[in-house]
Amino acid sequence: MSKSQIQAQEPDEIGNPHQIGDNDVIQCISVNKWYGDYHALRDINISVKEREVVVVIGPSGSGKSTLIRCMNRLEEHQEGQIFVDNIELSNDLKNINAIRREIGMVFQQFNLFPHLTVVDNVTLAQRYVRRRSKAQSEQIALDLLERVGIHDQAYKYPGQLSGGQQQRVAIARALAMQPKIMLFDEPTSALDPEMIKEVLDVMKELARSGMTMVVVTHEMGFAREVADRVIFMDEGRVVEVGTPEHFFQNPQHDRTKLFLSQIL
């Protein structure tokens, strides 16, 4: 599908996009990004379909995090185009905020708001961005906390929770906005081994429920079990894309083979 086709089809309203092409909700077209002189993303062309789980793997500094942070404009790309939900990411603040409403993001360091209780963390954006009533947003928050298994901690502060619990709150906080797409930026890298499973379980459950997910992770087991597609990146470029079966059993590129031989 070409760029002009997408631009020709304006979405009638946010939240009810046209089913365009082959259901691409994220499209990156020749995306380039530099930090100063450092070329961080080199000509990235990828797309994510609706209800698809894409896992991005690669060595440190390969641009995985930069790529998904570009997808909700936490980082600016300097060349190329990114379309999310048929809206192009540009400097237009209105577009950015519209897109961020539809994308939830979970960070490596959780980034919960330490001065708010768990339930306030989950309700804050609902109330001021989604403009839901206090009662409604609290109900949604409690339901979501139950879904991620920590409803009994709702009135504690993040500092009183373990890392795994905090990350599940962060997932609930992102889900409370009822996003179409969830971005996970190494969600288990800062966790103790015992706690990784509880977060991954929540993510698997989320994937099974049909959420579109882009996950940067080092958890190969998760990638193998849940991913629809695996993207391998190195030195700012996409090296190899494929299904988990293809990727783990029959990698083509030498760099991929080297990477897999080192981590498996």
């Binding site: 919960l112 804050l124 993040p158």
Partner: protein, 708 residues
Amino acid sequence: MDKGLQPTNGDVYVASAEPPEARRPPIAETGAIRWARENLFKTRYDVLLTVTVATLVGLFLYSFLDWVIFKAQWEVAFLNLRTHSLGLSFPREQIWRVDMVVLIVIFLSLFSVAVWGSMNAFLRRSVLIVLAAMYIVPILAGFVPKTAINVWVQEGFVRVMNFTADADQTIGFAVIPQTDENAFAVSDLAAGYYENNNRQAGTSFDTFNERSANVVAFGTVDPSEYDLNFRIVVVGRNGNILETSEFTGGSTDEFTFEWTAPRSGWYATYVEFDEEAPGVGSAWLRLENIEVFRSTSKGRADVAERYGEIPEASAIAEFCTNCVTTTTRTSLRFEGRRTLGEFVSLQMAPAMLETRGLFTQMVIVGGVGYLLGLAMLSLSFGAPDTIRGAERTVTSGGGFLILLYFGVQFSLFFNPGAVALNQISFLIFGTLVVIALSYAGLQFIKGDKRDVSRGLVILWLISIPVIWTMLTGFAAIGGEPNTRFPIISSQNYGGMLLTLLLSAVSIVLSFPLGVLLALGRQSDLPVVSLTCTLFIEFVRGVPLITLLFFGRFILPFFGFGLGDVDLIVRTMVMLTLFTAAYMAEVVRGGLQIIPKGQIEAAQALGLNGLWTTIFIKLPQALRAVIPAIMGQSVSLFKDTSLVFIIGLFEMLGTMNQVLSDAQTGYTIFTREGYLYVGVAYFLFAYLMADISRRVERTGAGSIRRNDI
């Protein structure tokens, strides 16, 4: 159950299925012993340091307390409490307005403590102990033997002593000739107090009498030449002579004389020199079994009620033609060492009688506010156990009030007339206010603590104009000139009132201004950030005194009617601007420590810049810099003492005025005066620091913070 090892095979060890029972650590590992061992006596250098410091502090405290209790004269503080609180020229008949403001603030503060924080048990006990002392100490003082009053008698220099006596009270007079040169520095006359009826108080609202210690040599008189010839005269309040003693006849023997009062009332005594041979020398006239006249304003009222109106000094001068009436207090320090009983009866009891009325009202009103806050909080949650807790609190509080009432009555039994009737009326008034406020407050409650909290904020906001109106007054009500509530000119403000007014207004206003300046300095718009930066750097670059002078002298030249703005208001503006600049830098520091991830998380949720600032950045930044903000506030509170330089007299300035006024004779009491001011400053500063610590512990501060 076996607690030992499970049977094992070979080298394998398996712990018993039941973990060993938890037990308490040995006594040497807990409590004070452990604390002392770990903190005071860990190494031999530690021991050396502890012993040295403890010795030095002990020595200092010993000599300090020794001076405070046995030597210092605190009249300069407690006889001038109104002056220190309100300044030299605050109209006396309007003082009740300030009292009301104090009570409103106390009520709201304790209400807030109940809703937002909790009362520290130490604080609660201290208040109760002080309150109990205020009623018990004056009663105890009644059991201390009456202090003899020593009057200096020198040829051609006679003082009139007014005194009160009950019916059949026997008063002893003793003339102690001063024949020993060394005896001039009479250190054993521990309480050489006398009445000086002639003091013209420098204040427009209090012309109380003075008594002063007066025991030091009056120059050198050759003891061998002693030949003082006088007699003692006792007169009634209208000047009729009731009793006359023999002439002392120039004898160097001690001369005594007794007189019994026929009925309760006012009397006066003076000495009359032999006109033919007055003689040379000096002597002490010691009056025994005389009640030392409580010369404070409240004491005056009590005395007047019991013995009749207090005679004017001039009235006595009329019938005592030989008398020299001194117009200034003799400025001599008490050089002796008094007993603990004398400290209680002469120093503590009068001070407590002076302050306990207002203090009791403050405790009652504050207590009611605290209980009301607790009750509202419990009602707003509605859980059965919290309601039971509220009931318990309210009943115990009610019991406390009843006990207090009987305490007041009991103390009235011992000190008739000592407690003014207005306390009772204040109680009734306070209760009415509480009922009204609780009714208003209950309207806000819909089942959430936040509603109580919001109602409280609204109450505080309402209180600001009320307090302002109470303090300033207004010119006319409905066209008629206002006499009950007249305008008090700002020139009449002074003392602690001015200090607190300047600091409170400046702190409250500089906080939001400082936050705005900090945000402005970080703004993306160069015009805004440059303006804020210039302002902050300019204000931080000049001394506060320069700004105060600017407000006092230069601002009026700008026109726009700025010269007509009240000096106090101009000073408040300058203090606010000064503090806001520093607050801005403090807040900027707080904004800088917020992790980038917090802002990214807010952005990822779709919060825009304004919401991110309000809900994410500011709460965290301000919480992080609470200690610095409070430090700035305390600093401002102390800096208000600089306003004396532009002609405003706050707490320290007023004390300087009192101490430097030769008329009042307080010039030699600088030590006591400045110590009193120092303690007052410390108490307020400590209170502020305590509040900041409490605020730090609220909300997310109530838990140990992890690195998130």
